[in-house]
């Protein structure tokens, strides 16, 4: 029998993502990968995976998944979303904490109430082919991940292992991910296409995330940035976090699925260790920028690496307690009156 996560509802935009597909940008292939690489790494660490293993990236509203395997260990990390066992007994499950589910269990991840993206990591890995070296989904190109697309009802996402090993579960003690505003940017490579005041305007004013945000880019609203040499450049390469400014003067931050080349001038670029922080912003949120040097970017990167290095010591292991063992209940009938797998029976609090 194959082990799989059976998708009852796909959610708004659920895709398989790892840390991205490098090596093919010269052929126009975007890098893709997790928008919030920090959250992906945390989720993977909680289930005992290597940090770069592919997980489900959830934007907006999460999926409803039925477990079709003997035992699956999962962990959700990232923005705040409710996570609930729907069947056999309804109960809330924790975030930033691993847990095991069994065959027939149904899990629902609700809408993100804070942050824009969260990750469901699965111990072992998804049994999907790598495309050009990566499991990341590039939906516009229709390749990678699960058939190159977002998850939909009736999909079966195959799992490599059908029975996760028994051991203690893991919990992140301080459930906050590193990353704060302002977002640090390095000027260039085309800051000379703008008025001298443009970089000051960008760094001295708050901008608002507009609803025009997806895995490719995030369009911002705020004071316009004025071009002085037109808004077309001879195409050159793009970078993750590059801030390009089309003719209307409103900046767009390029995200994971960005095109590899582009013809709009780029006034600056978000430093690599602040990219995840940008990805967590939702439409309506305020974003602020400040200038940074390459040296400051290097320091920030080391700080983030140190945070990851300390991650294992920030995680405590514990034996799950107070969890109703539904299998035992159904066979042993320990509690009178509430036995059964009827969804309508709510646990008393």
């Amino acid at each position: 029998m194959i082990a799989a996560l059976h998708v009852q509802q796909g959610g708004l935009h659920t895709t398989v993502q790892d840390l991205g597909r490098y090596g093919w940008q010269s052929m126009g292939v975007p890098v893709s990968g997790a928008l919030d690489a920090t959250a992906l790494r945390v989720a993977n660490t909680l289930v005992g995976n290597a940090p770069d293993v592919a997980a489900l990236e959830i934007l907006g509203t999460g999926p409803v998944l039925e477990i079709n395997a003997t035992r699956v260990r999962l962990a959700l990390a990232g923005g705040d979303a409710s996570i609930q066992l729907l069947s056999p007994n309804r109960r809330d499950l924790p975030s930033f904490e691993s847990f095991c589910l069994r065959r027939g269990d149904v899990l629902r991840i609700g809408s993100l109430t804070k942050g824009a993206v969260t990750y469901l990591a699965i111990e072992g890995r998804l049994d999907l082919p790598r495309v050009l070296g990566s499991h990341s989904t590039y939906t516009r190109g229709r390749f990678g991940g699960y058939h190159g697309r977002i998850l939909a009802s009736h999909d079966d996402v195959p799992l490599l292992i059908s029975e996760a090993p028994e051991r203690k579960e893991s919990r992140l003690r301080d459930q906050t991910l590193p990353g704060t505003l302002p977002i640090r940017i390095i000027p260039g490579p085309q800051n000379d296409f703008f008025s001298p005041q443009a970089i000051e305007i960008l760094t001295n004013n708050p901008y608002t995330v507009t609803p025009a945000v997806d895995r490719m880019g995030m369009r911002l609203d705020g004071p316009r940035l004025t071009h002085t040499r037109g808004f077309n450049i001879t195409s050159d390469g793009t970078a993750p976090g590059a801030i390009q400014v089309p003719g209307d003067g409103f900046p767009i931050v390029l995200m994971a699925d960005r095109q590899t080349t582009g013809g709009y001038p780029k006034i600056g670029c978000v430093i690599s260790s602040d990219l995840a922080t940008v990805a967590r912003l939702r439409p309506g949120n305020t974003i602020r920028f400040e200038l940074a040097s390459l040296e400051q970017a290097a320091t920030a990167r080391i700080d983030l690496q140190n945070w990851f290095a300390k991650l294992p010591s920030s995680i405590e292991s514990f034996t799950p307690s107070g969890i109703i063992d539904t299998a035992a209940l159904n066979t042993e009938n320990l509690i009178s009156g509430v036995v059964g797998s009827d969804d309508s029976i709510e646990p008393h609090t």
């Binding site: 940008q25 052929m27 126009g28 050159d236 970078a239």
Partner: protein
């Protein structure tokens, strides 16, 4: 002797080596020569090298490489950079200019005050240089297009340019690997596959290649397209379609 390139930071993971801001064979050849050279160094920490018309984007991992060291390495190599104007590979691309497969051919002829045959001749009698691949996976920018058939991009892009369309705009011609909206004029169709993520490498063309278009008749197109169907009849996971 060409001027020294500019070394520009595009964030802390990309160094842009900019040789100019125009579109010409000399600049493009220096870009691809530098890419070849950096590749040959097999440096730890280079994630990607992306040649464009006038610059090379070096994607690096700052854990292994610092901007300054990278710049020094490139600067040291520049005087001896072997710039080869000869193409690495030459391609002959069968292309059908049948009006049914070429939604914009008539419009191009009218706008340029040429006959359809003249447009086809002007397009197919040039050896094009692959400047870069970008915009979409496998989308090649080929130049230079004859000035007689050079038109600005459409003011209103077409909603649907069919996959494998051969299209023109400005002094460029290109091939749409997949169906998508676009502002270029579609003047022909090729039965060949230009991008397949299951191939290694996934794109048929690479920067520095030379491309010619060979006009073929509709029945030959159908024959080749049929043959190609058998080769590419799978989805992105390798499953039969």
């Amino acid at each position: 002797m060409s001027a020294s390139p500019r070394f520009l930071a595009n964030g802390d993971t990309v160094m842009v080596v900019e040789f100019g801001d125009g579109i010409d064979l000399e600049t493009s050849s220096r870009v691809t020569a530098l890419a070849t050279y950096i590749n040959s160094l097999a440096l730890n920490g280079i994630n990607d090298l992306v040649p464009t018309f006038r610059s090379l984007a070096v994607h690096y991992d700052p854990r292994y490489l610092a901007f300054g060291i990278l710049e020094e390495t490139v600067r040291a190599a520049l005087p001896d950079l072997k710039v080869d104007h000869h193409s690495k590979r030459e391609w002959l691309i069968p292309t059908c200019y049948d009006p049914q497969m070429s939604p914009d051919l008539t419009e191009v002829a009218e706008r340029c005050s040429l006959s359809i045959e003249e447009v086809i001749n002007l397009h197919s009698q040039v050896a094009y240089h692959v400047y870069m691949i970008g915009f979409l996976p496998g989308f090649p920018y080929l130049g230079d297009l004859a000035s007689e058939i050079s038109l600005p991009r459409k003011e209103t892009p077409s909603l649907r340019i069919p996959a494998r369309s051969v299209a023109i705009a400005e002094r460029m011609t290109a091939i749409y690997p997949n169906e998508c909206p676009g502002g270029w004029y579609a003047i022909g169709r090729t039965p060949m596959t230009f991008f397949d993520p299951l191939n290694n490498p996934p794109a048929l063309l690479a920067p520095g290649d030379q491309v010619r278009f060979k006009p073929i008749k509709r029945d030959e197109f159908d024959h080749l397209a049929d043959k190609n169907e058998h080769l590419v009849g799978h989805d992105a996971m390798g499953l039969p379609t």
